[in-house]
């Protein structure tokens, strides 16, 4: 069991993150202080939440490029609602964000399910459409901190047991996904649909419906993130989370979710997101010129993926008895 874990992708990611932290600590010891690690986790929370949703989609052999636009749209809607009805309680805002996000995800899902349009095409389209709608409903204008109610802005910052609410959201989402992925028929059917869609049909799993649900879940996470993002940065505008979709996909892939579907784990995804989060937070503080950051994170993605692939490479079949021990 333990030796199996040590050889797993998750263990390697843990090792990578730990050595990364050690490396950073040599240049900037304060980075690894618990307080700062909490900050890093908090900052990575949105990436974690989105990556969880994206994981479901990628497991079913699809991809959701519209998550960042969904974040922007949901964020703008809840921010607008907040300016119009400052009294609306945060619970209601959260509910609206979840439902709206899920609906947007369901649109993607329906197009994939009912019309069998490839997911990358659907979400490439909805990504621009969602952002366009943000522009239309906001008329291109920003909603700034002073226009938002205090309750709206303060919620993700509220601390519970030393952790901000934003972090707690990420933790709860991860726990929910662990249960959902491992212990519910839906979670298992994600693997079945992505691993072997033909076979899934034979076992009575509706491939399209499962993909639809994956998109809906991804959308719901994007909706949740929409509120968290807007309230955390206290601003809503067309371009928020611009280009974030690729970072979310990168987190999944680094975490060992196979882009071909059917392979991956919640723990891997979480670690993939944390890996990126640590890099992103560390680069500005260890005095690396801002101009180096892009190249470094690009290299990190390539190296992680090359490493992952080397790890997961099928070694071919072992037929020779003499080869069995070495393999």
């Amino acid at each position: 069991m333990i030796s199996q874990f040590l050889k797993s992708r998750e263990a390697i990611l843990v090792a990578a993150i730990v050595s990364l932290l050690a490396l950073i600590a040599t240049r900037f010891p304060a980075f690894v202080e618990p307080g700062n690690l909490v900050n890093v986790f908090n900052d990575t929370s949105t990436l974690i939440i989105l990556a969880m949703g994206q994981m479901c989609v990628i497991l079913t052999r699809c991809i959701d490029l519209s998550v960042a636009a969904n974040v922007a749209l949901t964020g703008m809607v809840v921010a607008t609602l907040n300016t119009l009805m400052p009294g609306l309680p945060v619970a209601a805002i959260l509910l609206i964000a979840l439902v709206l996000g899920a609906c947007l995800g369901a649109i993607n899902g329906l197009l994939v399910w009912k019309l069998q349009i490839p997911a990358i095409v659907v979400t490439l389209g909805t990504m621009t459409i969602f952002r366009g709608i943000v522009f239309l409903i906001s008329d291109g204008k920003w909603i700034n901190a002073h226009e938002m109610s205090a309750g709206f802005k303060d919620f993700p910052r509220m601390e519970l047991a030393g952790l901000p609410m934003l972090s707690w959201f990420a933790i709860v989402v991860v726990i929910c996904f662990v249960v959902m992925i491992n212990r519910t028929p839906l979670g298992r059917s994600f693997f079945a649909v992505g691993g072997n869609p033909n076979a899934a049909v034979y076992t009575g799993i509706d491939v399209g419906r499962t993909q639809f649900l994956a998109f809906t879940i991804s959308g719901m996470m994007a909706g949740l993130t929409g509120y968290l993002w807007v309230s955390r940065f206290a601003v809503a505008y067309v371009d928020i989370a611009g280009g974030f979709e690729l970072e979310v996909v990168a987190a999944c892939v680094i975490g060992g979710i196979s882009i071909a579907g059917g392979v991956g784990s919640v723990a891997g995804t979480l670690l993939g997101a944390l890996f990126l989060g640590v890099i992103k937070n560390a680069l500005p503080v260890i005095n690396i010129s801002p101009f180096w950051q892009l190249a470094i994170s690009g290299s990190a993605i390539i190296i992680a993926v090359a490493f992952n692939a080397q790890q997961g490479r099928t070694k071919g079949r072992v037929i020779l008895k003499s080869a069995e021990h070495t393999a």
Partner: protein
């Protein structure tokens, strides 16, 4: 036919430019027979602005007044516009000399450079570390102001600029950069953000880091967007020129040139309605007015205006 003047901004949706558009409309109303086309890309890219300008050329507008995302990249397109008989001026963020007839600086660059460091220094009697949070690496005006600021640093002994970072005029990136600054430089006394997006994000980051009173955020911002930061104390003061006046003046200048009432030559004096006249220097640059400082005493009054 109405004279059509296009006000091309860095990106649609930014409060500062929305206010400028108001000023442009005011000028148009005052002049009469002028139609203002307020347009721009949706993200701050030169390519986006070029596409917009190309379609303005196609519409044969009479004048283009642009706040540029890139000093140089717009030049060929704007040159083409001028070849087709369109008056081209830049305002706020300038275009290289070849690409426009004149440039309207919101204020003198030297003055702004001095202003932003002075605002920080005023609240740092014992000196200390300051850092700069800029917009994109390609933003013309930010780069110039920072350069001007560096020139006068000698006048502020004890104050060190320890870092310059770029938030790309994105709220989240600016926020993260500001957070990074406070971590790397625990003794940081002030963050100077000469951009209206960055300054708001930096103020939020200071509040979230619990460093209100420790780190002062200052620079250039809009009263409407900065009201919260002043209230929370994250920012003690900041400056800005009046964007309404800026849009108004740009429109007046464009009209004057396009109607042939004035010519953009070094030393020329061009009337700008209620804003007086603009005097062009040898590079056909002119400056509008001094930036105005906002703090707790006057923020209430201005926050509903722009």
């Amino acid at each position: 036919d109405d004279m059509r003047i296009a006000l091309v901004v860095k990106a649609l949706g930014i409060g500062f430019f929305e206010a400028a558009a108001k000023g442009a409309e005011e000028a148009a109303a005052e002049l009469g027979g002028v139609e203002v086309i307020y347009t721009g890309p949706t993200d701050t890219t030169a390519e986006g602005q070029i596409e917009v300008i190309n379609s303005l050329i196609a519409q044969q507008v009479d004048a283009i007044a642009v706040s540029a995302n890139d000093t140089d990249a717009l030049v060929p397109t704007l040159k083409k516009a001028m070849q087709r008989g369109i008056t081209v001026i830049s305002w706020d963020s300038g275009v290289a000399e070849d690409g426009r007839q004149l440039h309207l600086n919101p204020s003198s660059n030297a003055l702004i450079g001095n202003m932003i460091i002075k605002l920080a220094a005023d609240h740092m009697p014992d000196g200390g570390d300051v850092a700069i949070l800029s917009a994109t690496t390609t933003s013309t005006n930010q780069n110039i102001w920072i350069e001007e600021m560096n020139k006068v640093m000698g006048n502020y002994p004890g104050i060190n600029v320890v870092a310059t970072v770029y938030g790309d005029d994105l709220a989240d990136k600016s926020y993260r950069e500001a957070t990074g600054l406070m971590q790397t430089h625990p003794d940081l006394k002030a963050i100077i953000a000469p951009t209206s997006v960055g300054i708001v994000a930096a103020a939020q980051a200071v509040v979230d880091a619990g460093k209100v009173g420790q780190v002062n955020v200052t620079g250039l911002g809009l009263p409407s967007e900065m009201a919260g930061a002043i209230e929370s104390g994250a920012s003690k003061s900041f400056a800005i020129w009046n964007p309404i006046d800026l849009g108004y003046s740009a429109t007046m200048l464009a009209h004057a040139l396009a109607s042939g009432a004035a010519e953009a030559a070094p030393g020329a004096e061009i009337p700008m309605g209620r804003m007086g006249t603009l005097t062009l220097d040898e590079n056909t640059n002119g400056a509008m007015a001094d930036p105005f400082v906002y703090d707790a005493s006057n923020i209430e009054e201005f926050k509903s205006i722009f």
